[in-house]
Point group: C2
Chain length 195, copies 2
DNA sequence: TTCATTAATTAAACTAGTTTAAGAATTTTG
DNA sequence: CAAAATTCTTAAACTAGTTTAATTAATGAA
């Protein structure tokens, strides 16, 4: 059932013959992690790339002042990784932590390379995936520079209602690039408006 | 000579047999554009993806208030495109304009697809390129959220000395996500410090 | 169930960056 | 080369968001 989710995910990007798709997803292994577990800590090397089938993660970094900045949340059907650390097997600058008991399908760097070598379509698949990802990060950057904090919050809530429910406001504030206190003010203003 | 630059660029990412590399870069055509020319305007579809061999471009968007936000600059050895508009042949939200007389090597969407189909290594090449690009955009986002405007300017000047020379401070300010006036103040403060 | 910890809220003082406006410097164009 | 347009600078008033600090609410661990 977990593998079905990944197969659907792949098939949406590149159409693959069922047999080949089965072989490909077989490269991934199931891994359960308890809430609070760190998949990766700053300065470690990310050994496994993961696809979330259940639960939720935060991918974040700690700045010089010691405050946490959330880069993104990864819930079901998202990938969880430090793309740089995994690809080049270099020290990461990110933390990855489970926000709930979660289930992943994971693959090692060596096995991922095998996948790329043996299945040109996997190369294509991830080419398209990363291509979309670049566009998405560019859009996020533009949103940060053109929208107010309140508009960004509105956008977040609309786009990710489940994540809004799940994670603390403190983490959402961090994702939005504002303080917890200011988000609290925004939320009160919105609540007042609605009455 | 222009093609040599592209060949070197490709070879740094994926090692390719010389004959194959020649065939691949042959898919690209030289195009000269005069300073001020728009390669793309908001709501148009980007028909050609370009590799800059000479000159410089700005990739930007206009926000609701009518102010321009520079997403990035593309000088020699950079790609110039709206990744989303080109890949899906959909209306763009970006403007692309030559800041100088420039030379590009360009390819159409159909020819690019042919490249992908016929050369699995090209698929791999762009997979790696986009992968690095995602990491770079993530880093930029984190910089925007953790560094002050002055630190970001310092970082920009250090990383892109030629672009700093070439483009107006107004555009640099826009890239950094601050106003022209505030950048002017930052620059004065820096000049005062250095005396 | 209770204690301890962390998150959320509120409010006041603050600051990084914006806005507006006007003059000086530079670049572009005819 | 001169006029027009744009960019750059300066400064004062302003504001979106931060900081600090204190209180309350919620969550987690024993």
């Amino acid at each position: 059932m977990y593998y079905e989710l990944l197969k659907t995910h792949f098939n949406k990007i590149v159409r693959l013959p069922p047999r080949e798709l089965d072989t490909i997803v077989d490269y991934y292994q199931e891994e359960k992690v308890a809430k609070g577990t760190f998949l990766l800590r700053k300065s470690e090397i990310l050994r496994l790339e993961g696809y979330v089938v259940e639960g939720c993660f935060k991918i974040s970094t700690i700045d010089k002042k010691g405050s946490e900045k959330v880069l993104y949340f990864a819930a079901r059907d998202w990938w969880v990784m430090d793309i740089d650390s995994f690809a080049n097997q270099t020290a990461s600058s990110l933390d990855i932590q489970a926000l709930e008991d979660s289930t992943l399908l994971v693959i090692s760097k060596a096995r991922k390379e095998q996948l790329y070598q043996e299945f040109p379509k996997v190369e294509r698949l991830f080419r398209i995936m990363y291509q979309r990802s670049v566009a998405a990060w560019q859009k996020r950057l533009i949103r940060n520079q053109t929208m107010t904090a309140e508009e960004r919050y509105q956008h977040f809530v609309t786009l990710y209602p489940e994540i809004t429910e799940l994670v603390t406001n403190k983490l959402i504030a961090s994702y939005l690039g504002i303080t917890q206190e200011f988000l609290s003010m925004i939320r009160r203003r919105r609540a007042e408006k609605r009455t």
